[in-house]
């Protein structure tokens, strides 16, 4: 790929940062030897299977497992009765607000099943086929209850209740009657009503988005081995093995120190593998059977039993002056949480207007349960949903005042010091630069043909920081091992090795980065929130700097000089001045060879709680062509500019942008859960749940805009998520230009678009 980077601070001045070395995980993956969650086989291992509910909503009167237990070859059967009850308490981050009373009920249902596919019981047997047969012998007596799928219907006063005692949080005084509304949130700055009075044009619209799955290629899988002494080892594919350890320990009632979790290679997660479904069940089956147990989901299990992101129903109103100044914005965002509370509606509210300087803003959010799988994180969770509504209305505003949509966004772009809806002021720039990159793009000014349209949209994501750990070891031959606790989903092994090589001043090929298990490296939070290159990268650079100090100390000992008489330059220890003496510079390799004589192994660990991460901004434009006879939308061109801070490995950054855009295109055009009248999912497979494939797409053109983050040693910002925020609105805006039809509901699939066009 050509160099697509726009550097805003200076010419590149690094040896390795910004280069594109071959990925260290490439060979095992392309040769099929990489070990994913389902690949591990232990001696004596048996096979677990999970019984899932056929009903969308039902009370469990009883579960009889006796026939399954009696089947030859069955080694263990578990139900929720095998797990300790959990306290009802919302703890931790607001968005997820983990309530283990809910978590344990999602892993195995207790009083009720709350969605089709809800896990009810599990079996471990000598073979998969025996386990499958055993499932058919488990007798569950259900009292089928009315169900509700749609978020607006779930909020209705007469909707079937998932929890008979759920009182909406966030309303004062608290409601006296239960409902499916778990929580109400509101954020505001300024005076919204007064703002709208200043506007020349006010546009409001209602929108709906479909729940969509992360559609990672690798289904969830794990192996657990629980020993008689209470020690348990788990191998699993997840976005955070420390997170899996913590969740599993809480759910099965174990101590963190008694669990060791080893990360498998991961075949995609996109947020959906930050939660646990299988690990506690496998551990408990192993405990009961005394044998290692493997459980893996089928694709159908993944769709029926694991979390997509929320579908939503929204209303957005924006007021602008004739000169393009946005004076007020208001919105109501109702998000499906699935069967248990915890949608990303807070993020949706906080991100909705974040790219813009709007003096008067309000966002009201509702977290609503319904009979669908519990929502899980998906790439910038919440932000793409509200962006679809806001960026669509902005396009309508631009059209109403006759202003170019990029110019409207540029005029109102947030800058350092712009207040956000939660209160804090933006501390980093980067948004305006992404708009300017597209304004300069020749494609943006090309003429379009019949039935073609061009749409633009932007997006915002906070990006993450937090706790990460890294350990560096200098080997006797001068090679360097970098161990971190961050599962590698987006190329972190390469970027960690690059940052270590840059800091140490050694050749990239001498550095090997690995992902270590929970017993071999310090606590590290999940690979999610676009946090790893920033937070774990900071830990790697800090540990590398400690190694450099130690190398200088060893060189001083070799030369017989004071430590402060040695400096580290370009990978060599050198005398700080001619006064120190005339010594030949020592390389890392030469010092490593003398490690035993100078004090033993050269190693350093670092743990950080990294803060000062900078947010991500993305602006995109696309050209589409609409077939008026079929309603099919063909993407002709897609250009995505993103503020990336500094691209440590530009190819991976481009890949993140392309991946996010493609997932956004799927969300825009085809992906949705189709439920029948019984609340059962009718399309739990990739044949009927239509993700975009290569033949559907043009080459996605990424533009890396580098506005470095001063709070990271090399200027890195998170790059994994914000790219999925703009595509839905960009495509809707392009369709509107092509057809004159404003699509307000996702997906904009051929039958829906054709129906809309037929309305005239």
């Amino acid at each position: 790929m050509n160099d697509t980077t726009i550097v805003t601070d200076s010419v590149k001045r690094f040896k390795w940062v910004g280069t594109r070395p071959i990925r260290p995980d490439g060979v095992p993956k392309v040769t099929g030897r990489a070990l994913y969650g389902a690949d591990l086989k232990l001696p004596g291992m048996i096979y677990g299977k999970i019984l899932r509910s056929p009903h969308a909503h039902a009370r469990i009167r009883s579960i009889d497992t006796s026939a399954a237990e009696a089947l030859h070859g069955v080694k263990a059967v578990v139900t929720s009765a095998d797990f300790p009850e959990q306290k009802f308490d919302y703890i931790g981050p607001e968005r997820v607000a983990v309530n283990f009373w809910h978590v344990t009920r999602n892993i195995l249902a207790r009083e009720k099943v709350l969605y089709e596919g809800h896990a009810v019981a599990a079996v471990a047997a000598m073979s998969s086929s025996i386990a499958e047969e055993a499932l058919s012998l488990i007798k569950v007596d259900y009292e089928v209850l009315p169900h509700v799928i749609d978020v607006d219907e779930a909020m209705a006063a007469d909707a079937p209740l998932l929890f008979e005692n759920m009182i909406t949080r966030g309303i004062e005084p608290a409601p006296t009657k239960p409902s499916n509304i778990s929580k109400r949130l509101d954020f505001a700055i300024g005076d919204v009503e007064a703002g709208f009075r200043q506007a020349d044009v006010v546009i409001e619209k209602e929108f709906k988005t479909a729940a969509v799955h992360q559609a990672y290629i690798e289904p969830h899988a794990c192996v657990a081995k629980y020993e008689a002494d209470g020690q348990c080892e788990i191998w699993s594919s997840s976005q955070g093995h420390f997170q899996m350890r913590a969740l599993t320990a809480q759910v099965i009632g174990a101590r963190l120190g008694d669990l060791r979790v080893t990360p498998a290679e991961i075949g995609g997660g996109f947020g959906g593998k930050t939660v646990t479904y299988l690990e506690p069940v496998a551990a408990t089956l192993s405990k009961k059977s005394g044998l290692p147990v493997r459980i893996q989901m089928s694709r159908e299990d993944v769709f029926r039993g694991s979390g997509p992101t929320s579908g939503a129903s929204m209303w957005v109103k924006i007021g602008v002056k004739k000169d393009g100044t946005i004076v007020a914005a208001d919105g109501i965002f109702k998000f499906q949480a699935g069967a248990f509370p915890g949608s990303p509606v807070m993020n949706g509210c906080l991100c909705a207007y974040a790219p813009y300087e709007i003096p008067n803003q309000r966002a009201v959010g509702f977290d609503v349960v319904s009979n669908r799988p519990k929502a899980a994180a998906y790439r910038a969770p919440g932000s793409p949903i509200s962006a679809f509504a806001v960026e669509s209305v902005l396009d309508m505003c631009a059209k109403a005042i006759g202003m170019d949509p990029l110019a409207l966004r540029h005029k109102n772009a947030c800058r350092i010091g712009t207040p956000t809806i939660a209160g804090p002021k933006h501390a980093h720039a980067g948004y305006a630069e992404t708009i300017e990159a597209l304004m300069k793009h020749p494609g943006y000014h090309e003429k379009l043909g019949p039935n073609q349209g061009r749409g633009v949209a932007s997006g915002y994501w906070f990006n993450g920081g937090g706790e990460s750990s890294a350990t560096l070891q200098v080997n006797a031959d001068g090679t360097v091992l970098v161990a971190t606790g961050s599962p590698d989903i987006g190329g972190s092994r390469a970027s960690m090795a690059i940052m270590a090589a840059e800091t140490l001043g050694v050749d990239y090929s001498t550095v090997r980065a690995i992902v270590a298990d929970t017993a071999s490296v310090g606590y590290t939070h999940v690979t999610g929130g676009s946090r790893v290159t920033f937070a774990t990268g900071t830990a790697v650079v800090n540990a590398s700097r400690t190694v450099v100090k130690e190398l200088c100390k060893r060189a001083a000992l070799i030369w017989g000089v004071d430590e402060d008489g040695v400096v580290w330059e370009d990978g060599y220890a050198k005398p700080a001045s001619s006064n120190v003496g005339d010594f030949k510079p020592l390389s890392l390799k030469e010092i490593a060879a003398k490690a035993a004589a100078t004090g033993g192994p050269i190693t350093a660990s670092n743990g950080v709680n990294a803060g000062g991460q900078a947010p991500g901004f993305s602006t995109q434009f696309c050209d589409v062509e609409v077939d008026p006879e079929t309603g099919k939308v063909t993407i002709l061109r897609f250009v995505a500019a993103q503020d990336v801070g500094r691209a440590i490995h530009p190819s991976y950054v481009e890949g993140q942008i392309q991946g996010g855009v493609v997932q956004g295109i799927g969300w825009a055009l085809n992906e949705e859960y189709i439920y029948n009248s019984k609340g059962q999912l009718d399309n739990p497979g990739f044949l009927d749940y239509r993700c975009p494939v290569a033949s559907d797409l043009p080459m996605i053109e990424p533009i890396l805009v580098e506005v470095p983050n001063p709070n990271h040693p090399y200027g890195a910002k998170g790059v994994g998520e914000v790219n999925i925020c703009p595509p839905m609105a960009a495509i809707a805006n392009a369709i509107e230009m092509a057809t004159g039809k404003r699509m307000t509901s996702l997906p904009m699939s051929p039958p829906r678009l054709l129906a809309a066009l037929s309305e005239g």
């Binding site: 981050p93 505001a188 930050t274 939660a422 920081g465 929130g529 709070n711 998170g718």
Partner: protein
């Protein structure tokens, strides 16, 4: 002195709707202690439930974060990504 600000929802829950405070503190530990002195138990809620923006820069709510003189310290809900 640092200016301490809560979201309206947080203020409603824990500080009887009062959103802004002035606190003398060199780091977040000092801020948390001062708030806990005013509203016993609030310090723990802040630690567990919030992210902090110090002059707009987002940080985890950790004791060690320095608070420069005149800083604007916003406590906002903790954010988790995908």
């Amino acid at each position: 002195m640092a200016r301490i600000v809560f979201t309206s929802g947080f203020a409603r829950r824990y500080t009887s709707g009062v959103r802004e405070f002035e606190v003398e503190a060199k780091n977040l530990r000092g801020v948390l202690k001062a708030m806990d002195d005013l509203y016993p138990g609030l310090g723990e809620h802040l630690e567990e439930e919030t992210t902090v923006a110090i002059n707009g820069e987002l940080h985890e709510t950790g004791y060690f974060q320095p608070v420069p003189p005149g800083a604007e310290v916003f406590f906002i809900p903790k954010i988790e990504g995908g």
